[in-house]
Each structure stands twice: as C-alpha cells, then as structure tokens.
C-alpha cells in the first residue's frame, strides 16, 4: 500500500447522497480476479452511455458529457467531494479499488457507510468526514472556482482551502499510523501470534463445540 502523506489535488464534486457500491463499480466488473484495472469502469453506468462489459476497452465508448468526472475542468481530480452515506450497500472492495485505480486518494463526505469506510483505509484511500455545512460550502466553492484544489494533510489531520482556511478532521490513531506508513495490517497482527494461539487454546477448552474439525468427514465431505 502506498503511504499517504499530503495530497494537493483537484476536487471533483459528486452531488448525490447514498451513492452505493453498485453505482461505484457495477457488478459485471466484479468477475475479475485482479485487484487492479477497475478505474476505467468507476461509476460506469453514469460515465458512459452504453452498457460496459468486462474486458472491453473503454476508449471509443460513448461518454455521458453531463457526468461530473467527464467534464474537462475535473480531469486529474484526486479528491472526491460527495454527500451523506457514501459507499452504502454491497461490501465489495472493488469499490475502493476502482476509486484508487481512477486516481482518487481522498473522499470527503458528511458520512460514510461502515464497510466501505473500513475498506478505504486498507487501500491507501483517506475517507474524511466533515460536517454537512462545511461539505455544502466546499460544494459551492468547487463549483464556483475552476481548477479548485484542496490540500489534505493526514499527519496534521487538516484540509487547507485555496483561500487559506483550515478544516480539521479526525482519524483513528491506528488507521492513521497504517495509512501514513503504508503498513500491511496482516503483518502487524501476526506480531501477536502468541496472544492468538493462547486465545485459541482457551476457547477450545471452554467451548469445544465451537470447533468442528471432523464434522465434514462424518458427512463424507471431500476437501
């Protein structure tokens, strides 16, 4: 995972509440067994006028000129500004993969769906929660100012606007640490191997019925 320090980038405003992960990456693309390559199909049904199929090249597809990411002024955006409950619905991690592959590293919204929020951190994307009023102001400024950019500083947990205002945000210390250093949290957990093994032994002793090693064989199961 790429460490996240400071991002200064163009902001793209996606003015919708309850954007679900089906909209972020439609299901036909979930058939891929890769992690990369979802960017061209991010928001596929909104971005293009035809129906996208996996494996199809995106160049030459009819684009929807009204969709915000297709407007020339938002090209190269790395910060997505959106409304309440972003990322609701399916748990598919393909949604952050697609956002990341497209180029987004920061998503700003008044609220996020839980699983999506969590998945962002695992992929080097910073989801920032700001209150609804501040988000509304950022929408106005983004729309009113061509080339509108924000600076997002994770270490300082601060966003700076072009006119120099500072917007503070919160991140859990553990998640911040992992994101800042691009840490793989499986590696971190494996450092606690001893504690896990001890827990397992205790659980086996206290609740043997939890563990069902032979059950499958009893049923003629084939691994």
């Amino acid at each position: 995972m790429e460490p996240f320090k400071v991002i200064n980038a163009i902001v793209a405003p996606l003015d919708r509440a309850n954007v679900d992960t089906d909209a972020i990456i439609p299901k036909q693309f979930l058939k891929s067994i890769q992690r990369a390559g979802f960017g061209p199909n991010l928001f596929d049904e909104w971005r293009y006028l035809d129906r996208g199929e996996p494996g199809q090249p995106s160049s030459g597809r009819p684009i929807n000129p009204d969709f915000v990411l297709n407007q020339p002024r938002f090209q190269g955006a790395r910060i997505l500004l959106t409304r309440d409950n972003f990322g609701c619905g399916s748990s598919r991690e393909h949604a952050p993969w697609a956002l990341l592959d497209y180029g987004f590293r920061v998503i700003i919204a008044p609220s996020f769906a839980d699983i999506f929020f969590n998945n962002c951190f695992k992929n080097g994307i910073l989801p920032v929660v700001l209150d609804g009023k501040t988000v509304a102001e950022l929408f106005q400024e983004t729309l009113a100012t061509p080339g509108y950019r924000l600076t997002v500083d994770l270490e300082a947990m601060r966003i700076t606007t072009p006119d120099g205002r500072s917007l503070e945000f919160q991140v859990d210390p553990f998640r911040k640490h992992c994101l800042l250093h691009g840490l793989d949290d499986i590696g971190l957990t494996l450092e606690h191997e001893e504690a896990i093994s001890q827990y397992e032994m205790k659980r086996r002793r206290e609740k043997p019925w939890v563990f069902i090693p032979e059950a499958g064989d009893r049923l003629g199961f084939n691994v």
């Binding site: 909209a23 859990d172 957990t189």
Partner: protein, 467 residues
C-alpha cells in the same frame, strides 16, 4: 453494572488484545467465502507466502455467478467460469472445504450456512459479503467484510475492529395476518433510513421478533445492513435451539448438551443499556413496497408514490426526483397501479423454504398474468429446492406459469444470465433496489414473497391481505 447486551457478551468473549486507541483484535470463529470477493485475498496470501491459519473454520461456496438453468452445460461466460474455478482451485490449494457446483447443498452462502448448522449462537461469523448480517438471527455476531479483511481472517483467524455502538429495535405486538418479516424490515428501513443504524449493531427484540420463525428472523437480520447497521442480531430462545437440533454441523451428544446450556446465556440481560433504543408497533405495519432506488424509499401497499415537491431538504428532494425519473414513476400513483414486467422470487433475503411456501400459497390454482414477461423462482439452496419439490411447491409454480430454477443469487444482482433489460420493472423479493442492481436501467420494487407472488398473478401490486 454487570448487565450486558447480547452483543457485548459475544464481543467481550472474542477479545484477544486491545490498543490504546480502542482498536481491538477479535477472534473469528467462522469464515464463509464465495467466489466474488475472495480471489484477490488468496492471491495476497500467495504473494506474501502466508498460509491459512485455520482452514477448518472456513467454508466456501460459489453462488453469485452460478447459472440457474441448464446446469449440465456448466458456466458459459468464460469470466464467470474462471472466477468459480479460481475459488475451487484456491480451496484445494489451501485445504478449505467447499460446497461446489453439483453438490446438493450448494446455494446462496447465507442460506446454505445456517441450513448446515455452521452458524451457532455466540460465534463470530464473517464473510466478504454485506448480507452476512443474516446469521445474527441465530444469536451470533455476524458481519460483512472487504477482501483485505478476508485475507486478514484467512491469515490470522482474527480481525482488528473498533467496538461498534449498540441499538435495540423493539417490535411490540405481533404482525397482522398477511404481513411478514420482510414487510417488517422494509418498514423499519423506511422509518430509520439507510444510514439510520450506521456504526451500530442492532438487536431486534420484542414480541413480533420472538414470535417469528428462524427463517423470518434471518430475513430481518439480512436487511439490517440496508439500514446501515454493522450487524443485526436476535437473542437465543427455543426457536433457535430447535432450529439447530440435528443440523449436519451442529454439535452432537455431550457437546450438544453442553452447548445448549451455554447458548441460553446469549441474550441481553434485563438491565442492559443500549446506546440507542427505538420501539415500533408491529401490529401497525402494512405490506410494504419500495418505489425508489434506495431501500429507504418505501411505501405501504395502501400508499402512493410520494411527491418530492413536498420535501424541504434539497438533498433529499433531489434524490427523490432522480429516483422517480429512473423508476419512471409519477408522484401520486397508487402503489396498486404500478404495472410489473418481471417477477423474481429468491435471494438470501427470501429464498428459504418458508418464503417459497408463502409465495406458493398465493399462486396455487392461479395463473401468472399475461402481461408478465418472466416469472421465476430461484430457491436459496439445493436443499431448499429439494424440500420444495417434496412438498409439491415446484408444481404449483410451474402450473401457474413460473420458471422453476436452480439455486444461486441469480437476479438479486444479475451477475449470471438472469438480468432485467433497461426500463423493465421487476417485483422482487431481494434486498436492493439500487440503480442497475438487477440489470442496467432495470427497475426494482422490493416486497415480500406473498406480495411479489400476488403481483405475478395480477400484473400489478395488490394488497395480499384482501386475497
């Protein structure tokens, strides 16, 4: 002071260690895996030369991509086929049990797992799928995770989590005749909204929950995620224990006796305090139908399509307008006058035997309306299908003009060949009416199995209580 919620009992019991900021390492007892969200996790293990820590705790099943007819031909779409084969190969390589295609137990993961007795009270259960919430019906703590977390569980049998908040939704009194668990949960989501329970684990309680069957409780917990909840749960009672008796993977003999004694403890203590409490009167709930593109856009059967002009909040008004444009609906249209093109009965929400019985009861000795282009029943698992056939339900559906299919996710999310075409309107027993969920441009109305079956017969929605 020692009074604990059901959630807290399970959470505390699975606690391995905690960091200063409250991040907790918890132990995972059961891990369910399907083909769509696991390939990249196994690939990650290979890249980092890691093994699966406890292969016996993980169970796999292909469900999203499997065809629901002409199974003998296998999966025709090469990309879907590769995904299912990748799951099979990964299970073989890492020693994980799989209920593969052709296994009579194969089905939607959330139908198959409880049916096999894989889910027990007091367990932590995860799956790379948001509808893992279903399993909370058995008094377990069950929640959906992303693929990185799937990899984390495979490698460590643990997850790092922040302790969620708790919320109790109490449903007093009982549901009226013809009103089902699905109507109840659709109603709740309509009331509290799709972000109404974000950050919370919901415990469903009250007389209307206690009197529900296990199938009904699974339907309710299944859709807790549609209210934004981390998980839904129901306390253990006799229904839970009766349901588990003699399930293939449930404990036996002395283990069973000991387990039942311990399971009785998985209820919230009488004085337990929840972060939030909400109460509803279940007797006041009518059959529900969704009119929009979010599961909170819900109306009772006696209601009508709402008017965005009456809504003050501009963000909400705009999403209603977008939804109505997408759905091709006019404000003020009575719900009973919405004409339907296709019918889908199935999914992890309503693909269990009781759901098929409820639908069959409405359909019996009647015919699907001429205006319906396709009506299909997709049992939630191979065993549900077999049971339904033993009861003759398949014949009731077939004689009425339904297609009787093989188990899988099917048109719940349309990753196989079962899709809506643009503009087609579907009455569906599934859980999500998002834009394009059942096919690009397709329009989904969520409802109970009985209501959807009645729509098949009449060609439009109708109040099942009057039938």
């Amino acid at each position: 002071m020692n009074a604990k919620t059901l959630f807290a009992k399970i959470w505390d019991e699975h606690h391995i260690r905690q960091d200063a900021d409250g991040t907790t390492l918890i132990y995972i007892d059961r891990h369910l895996v399907h083909e769509v969200t696991s390939a990249q996790a196994f690939e990650g293990l290979r890249l980092n030369r890691r093994r699966v820590r406890a292969p016996e705790a993980t169970f796999a099943v292909p469900d999203h991509n499997v065809p629901t007819k002409n199974l003998a031909n296998g999966i025709l779409d090469p990309i879907s086929r590769l995904q299912v084969e990748t799951l099979e190969n990964n299970c073989r390589e890492f020693g994980i049990r799989i209920f593969g295609m052709g296994d009579p137990r194969q089905g939607v993961v959330h139908v198959m797992a409880p049916e096999q007795g894989l889910i027990l009270p007091g367990l932590t259960v995860v799956c790379g799928d948001s509808h893992t919430a279903t399993h909370g019906a058995l008094g377990a703590l069950a929640f959906g995770i992303g693929t990185s977390e799937v990899e984390h569980v495979l490698a460590t049998q643990t997850l790092t989590q922040k302790c969620p908040k708790t919320m109790r939704i109490t449903l007093n009194n009982t549901l009226g005749p013809g009103v089902t668990a699905k109507d109840m949960v659709l109603y709740l989501i309509g009331q509290i909204g799709t972000a109404g329970a974000t950050g919370h684990v919901i415990e469903f309680a009250g007389e209307a929950i206690r009197t529900l069957s296990m199938e009904g409780r699974m339907t309710v917990c299944n859709m807790a995620i549609e209210a934004g909840a981390r998980a839904g749960m129901v306390a253990v009672d006799d229904h839970t224990i009766d349901y588990l008796a003699n399930r293939p993977f449930a404990p036996r003999g002395k283990d069973w006796v000991d387990a039942v004694i311990q399971w009785r403890h998985y209820v919230s203590d009488p004085d337990a305090v929840f972060d939030r409490e909400i109460k509803f009167d279940a007797a006041a709930i009518e059959p529900q139908i969704s009119w929009g593109t979010s599961p909170e856009m819900m109306a009772p059967i006696s209601g009508q399509v709402p008017d965005p002009r009456l809504v003050d909040d501009p963000v909400r008004r705009q999403s209603m307008e977008k939804a109505l444009a997408y759905m091709g609906l006019k404000p003020g249209t009575p719900m009973t006058e919405i004409p339907i093109d296709k019918i889908f009965i199935g999914s992890c929400t309503n693909g269990r035997i009781e759901d098929l019985r409820a639908a069959a009861q409405v359909v019996k000795d009647r015919q699907v309306a001429d205006t319906i282009k396709l009506a299909m029943v997709v049992p939630g698992s191979g065993l549900v299908k077999r049971q339904a056939e033993e009861e003759g339900l398949d014949q009731i559906f077939i004689q009425a003009g339904f297609e009787w299919r093989e188990p899988g996710c099917s048109m719940c999310l349309a990753m196989n060949d079962d899709v809506l075409l643009a503009g087609e309107r579907c009455a569906s027993t599934s859980n999500r009416n998002f834009e394009g969920r059942q096919g690009a441009g397709g329009r989904t109305h969520l409802a109970s199995p009985a209501t959807v079956a009645a729509a098949a017969i009449h060609g439009h929605f109708i109040d099942v209580r009057g039938l």
